[in-house]
Amino acid sequence: MSGVLPPHDPYAAGEVASPAKATDVALGGGSTAPVGVDWSPDALLIEHRSTWKEVWIRFRRDKFAVGGLVVVILLILMAIFAPWLAPHDPTVQYDEGLTMQGMPVGSSSQFWLGTDTLGRDLLSRLIYGARVSLVIGVLANGFALVLGVIFGLTAGYFRGWIETLLMRMTDVMMAFPIYLFAIALVSVLKPSLWILVLVIGIVYWTPMTRVIHGEVLSIREKEFVDAARLTGCTNARLLYRHILPHLVAPVIVYISLGIATTILFESTLSYIGLGVQPPTPSWGQMISEGQPYYLSAPHLVIYPGLMIMITVLAFNLVGDGLRDAFDPQQRRR
């Protein structure tokens, strides 16, 4: 703790009042006989703030996290307003988008980032592609999170036969080769965006359950959980107030990585034709389509690759910042 103190530093007032053991005296640790002790210094009094407000105050101190959040918001806006932002229709094949030899053209005043192998505008396809990637990245992880929290919490908190049942079930799921499993599911069901969300959610549910189960096992043995049980908390309150808040950090870290993995997973499925069906654009699918031309038309691979990288990086930065912001001990950093 050096340099400028944050505005509500709890020890600042005490240090001014009495430099020696200021914290002990100020916070009231020294005396065993509180009778007659003057608690008047209101400097120690801080206003009550809601948890979310606290989190936001801590979050906005992290410049990288705020930067990541800005990028994420821009990406979301881009996905929502794609029809207004895109200069062309992403599915229309323009005659002037191909050279006489049938090769994609580079950037021009008409096609800012050039065209793809079928003469479609690359920039418009990138903008529309954000829809698929974000929907899959966020929803599939959200789906996996909900399943993971329900299964992991139940198994870890209640133990017993229900834990055995749920965790062995998870093990069985994990024993499946995930790509094979996803391919099997997608080929049985008709491929669409929502089926993809479902499939990816189901595939990523198992490691999430494992992570949460492990965390709950360690948290439930902490003394503060015993203390809460002794005060008469119900199971629901114990789970919500005492165990869930301690899951935030590991879960957010896992999700910020998971979103990246999921976007890439969608690319893989699209690559083998089981992802989003053409002509709907997705970044992964664009890379796979452009891959054979990467020597003659590298922009087909580079731009969607850059988009995936920026998105993944932004989510990771936000995840990092959130993890720190949820930890009250980060307050004075």
Binding site: P10, T23, D24, A26, L27, G28, G29, S31, T32, A33, P34, V37, W39, P41, D42, L44, L45, I46, E47, H48, R49, T51, T164, R168, K222, E223, F224, D226, A227, A228, R229, L230, T231, G232, C233, T234, R237, R241, H242, P245, H246, F326, P328, Q329, R331
Partner: protein
């Protein structure tokens, strides 16, 4: 003995508040992945019976791993007893479930060993101390806030700090917050599970004094679990000594420290250092041979016979001694104690010797612990 004894309120004191009857906690050792089956049990607590009287402090001492903390937790039903009963004002807690148990929890609380682990780091002090009031629907929002301020003041924490988080406090202050939480529901009975062993030596006396003040002001009954003999001596009215899941001796404070009868208690007390260099030079601790046996595989007969200098073969290693009243109010579990006569354990030059002598010789052990206790009292008067 100490000042607290003299001023403790007399009303209702002496009748039984908590009765522990043949309490046992066995943790199963299991094997197998899908189908778990029991292959053994750790007998952490193995048949305890004692009572706690209203208004008293019962000290519970013993080595690490002897089952002290498990006993405290089993009494409060944090760990469900394998067998046995825990009666609180005559009502059995071991069979209570759900809401009935939660209502009963208002009467008994616990102060934990580790002040860094026992407070939820994501909750403010106001939420931590106010939570018992909230879950028992005791006061409305503003009433709770006033009560939290009052409680913090009672334990010596500035009530203006109520919107702060636990990490902003020192270990001693956190322990005070934990005490405030325990007091919130106005309990009668508090299990103190090594409440000072995680604290700095300089803070210990403050917390001990606070506990004594609170006992006097609110008429509390304590079960005080510790491994520090001099602290237990300072705060307790009666003391129970545990070894490997069983109580070996239980007596009034002065009696137990003055004339310990059980060989284990004698060895334990002889190990207390004396803060006087000259006396310390002549002190001879009884060094017990070997280690405490594993509670997963306790020895047959008396649990202590494998290390007892006075062990009699064919008797101690076969039959388990019952905890019986050897003198009025003085309980011991040893085959060799008969009608007030007991084996006297002495430290020899290189080995152990059992000296059959007059009771006066037992005084040496008593002198040892007297001095040790004075140290604490001096410390606490600062």
């Amino acid at each position: 003995m100490n000042a607290v004894d003299a001023v403790r309120p007399a009303d209702g004191r002496g009748d039984t508040l908590v009765t522990v009857d043949d309490l046992a906690v066995h943790f199963p050792i299991t094997s197998g992945i899908v189908f778990r089956h029991k292959i053994g049990a750790v007998r952490a607590v193995d048949g305890l019976s004692f009572t706690v009287k209203r208004g008293e402090t019962l000290g519970l001492v013993g080595e690490s791993g002897c089952g002290k903390s498990t006993t405290g937790r089993a009494i409060l039903q944090l760990i469900r007893p394998t067998t046995g009963r825990v009666l609180y004002e005559g009502a059995d807690l071991a069979h209570l479930r759900g809401g009935a148990l939660r209502r009963q929890r208002r009467r008994m609380q616990m102060i934990f060993q580790d002040p860094y682990a026992s407070l939820n780091s994501r909750m403010t002090v106001a939420d931590i101390v106010g939570e018992p009031l909230l879950v028992h629907r005791m006061l409305d929002r503003s009433g709770r806030r006033d009560r939290v301020r009052e409680l913090l003041q009672t334990v010596g924490i500035n009530p203006n700090t109520l919107n702060r988080y636990p990490h902003e406090f020192s270990g001693g202050q956190r322990q005070r917050i934990g005490i405030a939480r325990a007091l919130a529901v106005e309990p009668n009975f508090i299990v103190c599970d090594e409440p000072i062993s995680a604290l700095d030596v300089s803070i210990r006396a403050q917390i001990i004094n606070l506990l004594q003040e609170l006992q006097r002001d609110f008429g509390l009954t304590y079960l005080f679990i510790a491994h520090d003999l001099s602290v237990v001596r300072h705060i307790s009215d009666r003391v129970a000594v545990m070894y490997l899941g069983r109580i070996v001796e239980l007596a009034e404070n002065a009696v137990l420290y003055g004339e310990p009868m059980h060989p284990y208690t004698q060895a334990l007390l002889s190990a207390v250092p004396i803060p006087d260099p000259e006396a310390e030079e002549h002190r001879r601790a009884v060094v017990l041979q070997g280690d405490v046996p594993s509670p997963a595989d306790p020895p047959p007969g008396c649990h202590f016979h494998t290390r007892c200098p006075a062990m009699q073969e064919g008797h101690c290693d076969l039959e388990s001694p019952a905890l019986k009243e050897v003198r009025p109010g003085h309980f011991a579990a040893c085959h060799l104690i008969n009608a007030g006569d007991y084996p006297r354990i002495r430290a020899g030059e290189n080995d152990l010797a059992v000296v059959a002598g007059s009771p006066a010789e037992g005084g040496a052990v008593a002198a040892v612990s007297d001095v040790a206790s004075e140290e604490l009292e001096m410390g606490s008067s600062e």
